[in-house]
Amino acid sequence: MKAIVNISLKAGVLDSQGKAVHHALDSLKFEGVEDVRVGKQIIMKLTSTDEAAAKKEVTEMCEALLANTVIEDYEIELVK
């Protein structure tokens, strides 16, 4: 099973990189962009075949290491 973890700054925490990318898109005349958030994606190959157990384990990984929950949110996607 594959786990895809998307990590981004929490809503309300200013995303300077997103802002800079937004400015750059503006200057390239892409005018339809309302907001930009830059995050990171961590892709893991898991040995587990049990979805619930995998979800639980990856959640623990996020809380312990992968995300800093003071400033970041994470979303977990499992792909068989």
Partner: protein, 223 residues
């Protein structure tokens, strides 16, 4: 006075820190991250600046799981003083020893220059040799120095006198080089024995090199 300076792979300020504390008369030992204890009688543990583990994932995120961090936690728990400078500050926030987190600088640039700081409180061992509102000139050198803490927790920091320093100009007027909330440059824990700041007092030890304002800060740890 016995100081232990923690060294991770990628730490690069351990020798400056060693020099600074030796100059003030301390006995200094550099402690590799695989160690699990500090020398008997260690008074102060310094988590020095640098780029532990290449700042991979997040600054300080990997270092906090190094074996030596158990010793840092134990030292802090029994009331020993801990000082995190720059990357050390990031490591201590990641480890949960200090509140808040350090984000990428608002301007996205790496900043390396002298900066003035205003003392917000001196009711702690680190800043007791300075007066409130004193302005000191200390170098900064960081990419992720943008201090963040949620609004409700920020109030608690002020209520407990945990905000140590604010960035300012040479006249003490507020400026903000990196986007930190309230231009906060350093904080301590509630018990006031764990300190963290982005600026480098260990690089401000000689007036001939631009400033010796770091002396008064580090001297606070000497009885």
């Amino acid at each position: 006075m016995k100081v232990s300076v923690v060294q991770f792979p990628g730490t690069n300020c351990e020798y400056d820190t060693e020099y600074a504390f030796k100059r003030l008369g301390a006995e200094v030992e550099i402690v590799w991250h695989k160690e699990t204890s500090f020398a008997e009688g260690t008074d102060l543990v310094v988590v020095a600046g640098g780029f532990s583990y290449g700042d991979y994932l997040r600054s300080g995120a990997i270092a906090r799981f190094s074996p030596v961090m158990q010793a840092v936690l134990a030292h802090a728990e029994k009331g020993g003083n801990v000082l995190g400078i720059c990357n050390g500050f990031q490591v201590l926030t990641e480890a949960g020893l200090l509140p808040g987190a350090l984000k990428r600088n608002e301007g996205l640039h790496f900043l390396s220059k002298h900066h003035h700081l205003k003392v917000a409180t001196n009711s702690n061992v680190f800043l007791e040799k300075l007066a409130v509102n004193d302005v000191v000139n200390i170098p900064i050198a960081h990419h992720d120095g943008n201090y963040f803490i949620a609004e409700d927790e920020r109030q608690a920091l002020y209520d407990n006198d945990q905000v140590l320093l604010h960035y300012c100009d040479e006249n003490g007027n507020a400026t903000n080089p990196n986007g930190s909330v309230d231009a906060i440059a350093g904080v301590c824990n509630k018990a006031k024995n764990v300190f963290g700041l982005m600026p480098h007092p260990e690089r401000a030890m000689e007036s001939i090199l631009g400033s010796d304002d770091g002396v008064k800060m580090l001297e606070g740890f000497f009885a």
